[in-house]
Each structure stands twice: as structure tokens, then as C-alpha cells.
Symmetry: C2
Subunit: 399 residues, 2 copies
Amino acid sequence: MPFRPTQITGNNAEKTKAHNRRVVLGYLRGRDAGRAEVARATGLSTQTVSNLVAELAREGLVAPQGRRAQARGQPPVVYGFNPTSAAILGFEVRPDALTMVLTDLGGKILTTGHTWLTQTDPAHVLGQMAMLAGQAATLAPRILGAGLVIPGPFGATGLNAASATALPDWVPSEIPALAESALALPVWLDKDATAAALAEGMFGAAKGAQTYAFLYFGAGLGLGIIDQGQPLRGAFGNAGELGHIVSHPNGLPCDCGNNGCLEQYVSRLAVQRHLIARGLLPADGHGTDAVLTALLARDDAALSAWVDTAAEALSRAIGMLENLFDPQYTILGGALPDALLDLLIARLALPPGSVAHQTGRDRPRVLRGTSGRLTAALGAAALVIHHTVTPRIAAYRIE
Amino acid sequence: MPFRPTQITGNNAEKTKAHNRRVVLGYLRGRDAGRAEVARATGLSTQTVSNLVAELAREGLVAPQGRRAQARGQPPVVYGFNPTSAAILGFEVRPDALTMVLTDLGGKILTTGHTWLTQTDPAHVLGQMAMLAGQAATLAPRILGAGLVIPGPFGATGLNAASATALPDWVPSEIPALAESALALPVWLDKDATAAALAEGMFGAAKGAQTYAFLYFGAGLGLGIIDQGQPLRGAFGNAGELGHIVSHPNGLPCDCGNNGCLEQYVSRLAVQRHLIARGLLPADGHGTDAVLTALLARDDAALSAWVDTAAEALSRAIGMLENLFDPQYTILGGALPDALLDLLIARLALPPGSVAHQTGRDRPRVLRGTSGRLTAALGAAALVIHHTVTPRIAAYRIE
DNA sequence: CCCCTTAACTCAAAATGATGGAATAAAGTA
DNA sequence: TACTTTATTCCATCATTTTGAGTTAAGGGG
């Protein structure tokens, strides 16, 4: 329930413990370590770490990996994160379909599920979710929680006309509670691009990074921004509507009322439209992925022309994102074939006037995401880990 | 020391108390209230609030405002924030000058100071600071701390060529410690636009807002972004380099290597260049403010033409910021006369395709800042309050 | 091979600070 | 005046972390 935080609450001993537990678990999720090392890194006493690790080990979330002599002194008992000790559910809700993944805590997919939706009211969709979850539950001894992602934007904004993809009845502040009773699990909700970004930082290309931008190709073009490990949300949960920034002043009209929106040039819909106009794809867009893969394999000129145009607009957009967000890197992912994303990246000509253009970079400025078609659903699953493992600001209360 | 946080640390009882103290003080800074009300709002017990308020009252930071009967029951003793109980120092360091303000905790300016700088090495500048601070100290019984702002970007980035304004020797991670020993006060450092944004949210146009964008006219064009009350920093502290996003593809060349950077069209330097080219301002730009005010008063056509161009570019930029950050509003402030900022705002034609274009807004999408020429120095002072009053994520450790 | 040093770890007591329940104070209401 | 409501205080209790004194298990020097 990330939206509209209104008031910062106080702490007490119990919340302190929960925080410390997340700190310790977060550290061990990053690397195996002995308890004394965790204590030094977190600033906690060894005693506290010892207690917390014992508790986590009792629950199976971490496990001893044996002693490892390093120098003098008694060798530490090294503990490591145990990703197979529990499972998590991720649901992606779109206007036409519901996708589910069940993963372990390391993001490894245990099973998937899918249903086409004819109605999109929460009651109906939550029923479908409960059904899929019931099937999945037989495969996992223990499910920690469920994540839920829906496309933005939320509320009545200037983008609504353009958002046939939005789910109007899905009020972010109400859904988690409904879902919790439907699934009998703790539930977290976020928007697709943000959740996908978290997943990429947890399991994928941005593993270990604290500050990065994730460019999400869904129907349009979304953006998830993670700064210091925390997602940027905005006042109404609508941060990251990258698709509707104006890339070409006086360019192609968009349903939103702007002319030259970026997603008219860089998106799955844009490439589909380009190919349909040239007779390379049926008008309903059926089989897009297969066609794209085939065209890429034979180095098709029409597709290559689209990539050139898209890469030009995308280069400017990424330069802008770099200057505004100063990410460690920008990641491209979502519903486009990996080969096409790779080609787009190869054709980028990033502007020199960027804070990301610096000496001594260890990695490229732009990377491809690793999770492919299931990006959003995996992102949903990652929400659970994010909220279970990542220390937060003092909890926000929602009113 | 906001930059390069590396590790989240654990909590203990003392940190918990410090957090709760900030929560309580933060609440009372927003509105007067009885202790029971604070307890309800923060989720703390009345006893805890009572203890913390007593401590804060002992220090003078809050003071009882008398009883206020409201309904039945014993009327609460209402406590209020006491802005005159202490003072704070704010320093703005630029390559050519050092500006100081001494304010009370409400942002009211008690005195100002100014020195031209011939050298910019930290040792020299810190000496000048200590001198100014010494003079100011006679006016305030108690100084809580000092804030320090410097222009970005930090490190060796692609914008360095363009940043004659940057201070190369000022390494953000080292300065606060040096300054603390020079001033014998707690010191916080941040970049100008970010600090100015915090000040605007604390004392100015965005008072009470949690999520907003502040467009800062310095030499170039900076941006401070506050999301959920926390500044956006980026991986290297360089988030918000708005001036060098490409506004006009293939437009005017910029020292940074890009063509068509926004600050070539919208900045103090841009309007100066426009006026110099037309013989309305001496080539050294001397007397810019007076000239601008005079030209505005007589509705000068040349200036008006600049405003039109600037407003067009600015409208697109603001639309973009809205879609990326989803702020409650965007604020324009800094080193331009209020009348010019007002005219710019009046001429904006904001794009319709924006998440900020929503029904039921209580305030305009764009506001003018309130603090004028001293914006950055006031921002520096605001840093002290931000760190004293605002609850934070578990403290970051710097390595 | 023994003893010293180093480091990890455990146990029990102490310290910190939040909480909960009972008692008290001060108002409005019947 | 008695009763209800709300704010506040007092005091004992509770949840945690920290501290300090051992204990264990390794390496290194003679």
C-alpha cells in the first residue's frame, strides 16, 4: 500500500527489532557472512545479530554454511540466505489477462499461471487469483506473501484518455486489504514498472545496485526509478510516466492530447504499427514476437529503419533520465524480444552532456533486463521480498 | 553528508528515541497541538509523547500555548513550535562569492553576510566562513548548526566542461567534517537546488507539501526534487541536472557537448545573452536585475520575445517533470526577479498529456518561489532543520 | 608441542526507552 | 450535583539492545 502516505509514525522496541531483522536479512541476502561481520557492517552488537540470525535460521530464511577459517582467531560460522526456504506469489493484472508466477526467494520460477479476463472488476479478478494461488500452493510448503502489479496511472489524470490499459475500479488504497482476505496472505501492490524495476535490482541486471532506472516496455513505455534502494513514487503514485513525455515537438499526435509523445516512437505498439503499415504484420498485431524474431534474424531493412528512429529518440530520453536521476545505469526490459532490445542498445548514441558520462565507469550506461515476458509478474513477486527484507523509513500510515 | 550511502545500519533504543523526537517535533512544526493529539497522530503512547515534549520544552524548541477547550473533557495544553528559540546558519559557496544567512528556526532572516572569494580552496573558504559566523554569533544566543550548499555536479562527469561553476576541490564526503571543526557546529552539506527545494517546502511556496519539484535559476538551471519528504539524490549526488537535458534537438550548442540544452533557452545566462545581443545590457551583464525590472515595467518587446521562447521550452520541460516525478506542484525560484518569474509562469502553456493535469486540483500546477536572491543560502539553513526535524531512513553510514 | 594471541561466540546482568493500567485533573452535560 | 469525557501523570512492566565477563577455536612463535 505505497500510495498517499500521510504521516510518519513513531518507533518502539518491536519496530526496532523488525527493522534490525530486515537489516540483517538484507545483508545476508547480499552475501554470505559470519555473525561478527554482520555486526560490524550493521553497527549492531554481536549479541543482537546472534539473536536475530538464530531466529532467521529457525525460520529457515538463512542457514549456516559451515565454518570458514580466514586468518587467526576462531573461524566464523558463515550464514547464507536460503532462497528455497519459502515461496512468493506475483500477479500481474492487465485489462485482458491475469498472469501469475510462483518463485522461490531467489526469484527462481517454480510455476506460472495465466487466465484471460472478461471482466476487470476487483471482485472477479481476485476470485481468479485465489484459484490460481490455490493450484500453486500445492507446490510450495510455505508462501510468504503475494505481490500485485497493475498498470498506471492512478486517478483521473490527463493521461486517462490515452490509458485504455488502466484499471479504473482498482483503487490502490483498497486493493491490498481485499486481496489479503481473498488470498489469506500479506499482499503488496505497486505499479508494473516500479515492481519490475525492483525485481531487476533484486534478481537481474541491476543486482546489488541501489540507484537505477528501469525502462519498461509494456503496452506503452513505463519507467521505474529506484533511488537509494527506494522506489520513487510521486505525490499520487504516478511517477515514471515516461511514455508521454514529448520527444518530438509537433510530432505524431497521441491520445493523451500531446504531440510527439515518446511512446509513439519507442514502444511495442510503435514497432507493431510500423510493421503493420508495411504489411509485415497482420493488422491485429497477432504473432508480433515471432515476426520480430524472424525479421531480426534476416536483418530486415524496414525493422532496422524503425530501430534507427527509436534509438535516436531513446538516446535523448536516456540522456535526460541520466541528468535527472543520476542512476548507476539504465536498464531496458519488458515485452520486447531480447534480440530487439539488444539491437536498440547497440544503436544508441548517448549524449555526451550527461552526468552519467564519467571516467572510470565499471559497467555500460545502459543494460538489458534479464527477465523477459514475465518481467511484471516477477516484479510483483519481488515486492514481497522488498517489503520483507528492505529496511524502510518509519512505516507510513495510510488514511 | 548525503552522498554515497553504503550501508543501512541497525537501530537501538537511543536511535529510536531520536527518531520519535523528530517525529514529535516535526508534527508540532506543522501545527500546534496537545500531547494527546500528537500521540494519536504518531501512533506513540501519550506517555512517550509527554516525555519527549517535556524534553523539547526544556530546550525551548516547543512551548505551551495555553489550554484550549474544544469539546468535553479536560482541555489539552496546546504546544507549539517556538521558532525564535534558536538560530541556524546557512552558507552558499559559489566560485566567486560566499553568502551567509542567519535565520531563526522559522526561516526568518536575522542577519546576512557576504564575501567575495579570490581563492576557492576549502581551507580558505572555511576560514572566511568562520569569520562571518563569528560576527553572526553575537546576534543569536544559540546556534543549532550550519548548512552548506555548493553548486553541482560532483565528480568527473560529462558536464564538467560546462561547469565553470563547479568547485573541484570540494569533495562532498570530506567537507562536513572540515566545516564542523572550523565552525564548531554540526554541519550538513548539499547541493544548491536540493537545499533550496527543502527551504521552499519548509518556509515557502510548498509549505507542508511532501512531494514537489523546485526549478532553481542559478547561473544555469538546476532542479531539486522532493519525494515523500526526502530529496532525490541519485547514485553520485548529481540528480536534478535539468539544465543539460536536450530541449531543442539540433539547437544551440552547449559547452557540455550537447546541442539544444534547456539552459541555453531558459536561464539567467540565456536572458542576459539575449539582452546583450540586442544592446539592452552591457556585455559583462552588469546590472541585470535592474535592467530586467525596467524592461518588465515598460513591457519591452525584446524581453517579451525571450519570455515567449523560454515559456515554450519551459512548458514542455515542466510537462516532462510532471510525468516523471508526479509532484504536487512545480515551483520556480532563484536568481531571477519575481516579476520575470511571474511573467514566465503566466505565459506557460502546459501540455494536457500529464499526470498533473487532473480534476480537482486545489492549487495551480506551477507556483513561484518566495525566497528570491537568498534562496540558496536559505536552503542551506533549511538543511539544518531538515536533519533536525525530519525523520529519516535508518542512518546511512559513509565510508 | 606448548603457550600466546586473535577472533568468534555465548551467557547473564544492566540499561534504555516505550507501553499499559490506575489515578487524577478539568472541562462539559444532564 | 453527579456523570461523562478527555487530557495528563505516576508507576510498574515489557521488549530489546548493549555491556562485560567468560568460553571456544583457530593460527603463530619458540
